[in-house]
Subunit: 366 residues, 2 copies
DNA sequence: CTGAAAGCGCTTACAG
DNA sequence: CTGAAAGCGCTTACAG
């Protein structure tokens, strides 16, 4: 069954007739139809002045009938508010791209719920994009994703008239609203959890070293915290980096498992490692949690999509994106008054149990 | 080392001083600095009228010095062009979300290269979003992703004054610019390729049945084409649907392999199946391509991320997104003249060889 | 080759 | 409670 097609044969000989949907209806038309002035129509719709019920109803009826929707550009020009935020994403070669989608959806959905649309910016040069969008007044604020230790975008953001919120803890968060998973607590939690069950030798697989060098501080924040905690508890921790893709990461895992045959616990701060692990375990004949306990750190959606059978700290991507955008909007709409002090919110880690953690068995695996 | 922080202690007692970056510089300021009228400044910048070199240079210098960037809302209001397109994505439970990211990036990057920004719309009600953005004149055009057989968004798009392009072939593409992988040719190619090598019994695993019922026509387009081709060639084809997530899809694969022990080729039109297959093969002790030839259909990026060792037809997500946006922009900027006839471009399938296809061995597996 | 003015479609002080 | 008018910052016919 054919859908509606947009041919206008009937108009062929009457080029003055506007095409369907092309009649631009303005607030002037609404005012005329309602028999009031444009300002009254405007006030009736924005509610910024009390309007008599009768008049207000006439305006609303006119809007319905004419299908009036305010012109976004005109409104932006006169109010200096675009109701659009920019989402500056970064897709780096050495990171696991699919994980980014959850942050993005958290932001776009969160923004929409608050009446904002989201401009997705994926261009390489984030600094340039920020400058362009800020000075053209194209957006009311910015959400920065994948913020690194010394993120060049922050200096620009600090000078911009629009506020910004970010996901990812920079070296100096002063003056910004920051949201991130508490990676220090996460490292501790991983070690604590396994230690309590009796594990005494663990392997930690982090993201690739390039991620750290590029400023992905969360990698070493988790790793250092895990190492310190392990030292306190007298637990041996083999800390290492792993590739961000197969087959590299698969080889890394095999090598690590072979190198430390007496390790009974595996900690993963590396999505690719989690995705690769099932095959590796199968190949090595290692069963979880009997031979090896595993605890990861990735989003629940990620786990669901790939049905990763490992207990993991939820990276709370959707939640972080949502919180960032909420704070941003609060700041946009609050003007200079509302959320005065900038916040740094580190979400406490929560392990989502998928049955991959248990007390170690005495017999060594392999 | 601390980054630049945005404290303004020096301004504390002088609240009238604008904060850095808050001085709004308009074209009037540029004109004044260059000693010309605002219209001349405008013409010098847009190039829509010839301006004497000397004057033009003065204007350009003034722009540089003052850091002038046109106000997007004002420009949109006077030109009726926003330089923004809307990208209507859809994330359905029964589809493989990570695969969507490639389409999205193809569109945003493609748009940016042409001078457009992209509004990412992920809200459930695509029809409503389309209406809202169209009638508020917030965007110049639409790119629809994940278009289904009878997509309700098309009727709305057909009446909108802005043009639209889509990725995904609808039942009636009349009046729209459509881009998609040629799934019919893909089904044929899969069968042909294996048949030529001597395979006579194949298994096809498609996306879940819900995807088809919801209007994901590409599923049956590929499946039907494969079936017909197989019939022509005298090849046995076991066509089936598979879950879109593990562990369901893993179980499906095991069941199918067990049910058809003499099948020597496996065709996958299901990303989750491809991701799950390595573990299943390992568990069953099946080696590729010795015991089984495998050919899939998914994006190269997807294959790279998960290092899937299977030859596959590239779904060309990035390419499709880019083409859609290019055509859209051509239509936006061409007005009523340029690309008059609407196009339906089906990209011919290309198998990216990863060594998982070979002539079948005589001995049955398992 | 350039300038003064109108207009895009809103909102919002200013008057009544 | 309502209206006439100014203004947001651009672009672009209209005059010269």
């Amino acid at each position: 069954m054919p859908l509606v097609s947009n041919r206008y044969d009937s108009n062929r000989f009457d080029s003055d007739v506007a095409e369907e949907g092309d009649e631009v209806v303005t607030i002037g038309d609404v005012a005329k139809a309602a028999g009031v002035s444009r300002s009254t129509a405007s006030y009736a719709l924005t509610g910024k002045r009390s309007i008599s019920p009768a008049v207000k109803q006439r305006v609303i009826d006119a809007v319905q009938e004419l299908g009036y929707v305010p012109n976004a550009g005109a409104r932006a020009l006169s109010t200096s508010q675009t109701k659009v935020i920019a989402l500056l994403a970064r897709f780096l070669d050495d990171e696991f791209a699919p994980a980014m989608l959850q942050y993005i959806l958290g932001v776009t959905n969160g923004a929409r719920e608050l009446g904002y649309d989201t401009l997705l910016v994926s261009e390489e040069d984030g600094v340039h994009a920020l400058q362009r969008l800020s000075s053209s007044r194209q957006v009311d604020g910015f959400v920065l994703l994948n913020v690194s230790e010394e993120d060049e975008r922050l200096a620009v953001l600090g000078k911009a008239p629009q506020p910004g919120a970010m996901v990812g803890l920079p070296g100096d968060p002063d003056g910004f609203d920051v949201f991130d998973l508490d990676f220090v607590a996460s490292g501790r939690l991983m070690v604590d959890t396994l230690h309590e069950l009796g594990h005494r030798e663990l392997i930690l697989v982090s993201q690739p070293e390039d991620v750290v060098e590029r400023g992905g501080a969360y990698v070493w924040r988790l790793a250092n915290a895990a190492r310190e905690r392990a030292a306190e508890l007298g637990v041996t921790l083999h800390s290492s980096f792993g590739a961000s893709q197969q087959p590299g990461i698969g080889d890394d895992l095999k090598r690590l498992l072979d190198a430390h045959p007496s390790a009974t616990g595996l900690l993963l701060n590396n999505e690719a490692a989690a995705a690769a692990l099932p095959s590796v375990l199968l190949a090595r004949g290692i069963s979880v949690p009997v031979d090896l306990s595993v605890v990861g750190r990735y989003s629940d959606d990620f786990a669901k999509t790939f049905s990763l059978p490992f207990s993991a700290i939820d990276s709370a991507a959707d939640e972080l994106g949502r919180r960032a955008v909420r704070q941003l909007v609060a700041r946009i709409e609050g003007g200079d008054e509302a959320p005065a002090p900038h916040t740094v919110e580190l979400i406490p880690p929560v392990i989502h149990d998928r049955g991959s953690i248990a007390a170690p068995t005495k017999a060594p695996r392999g």
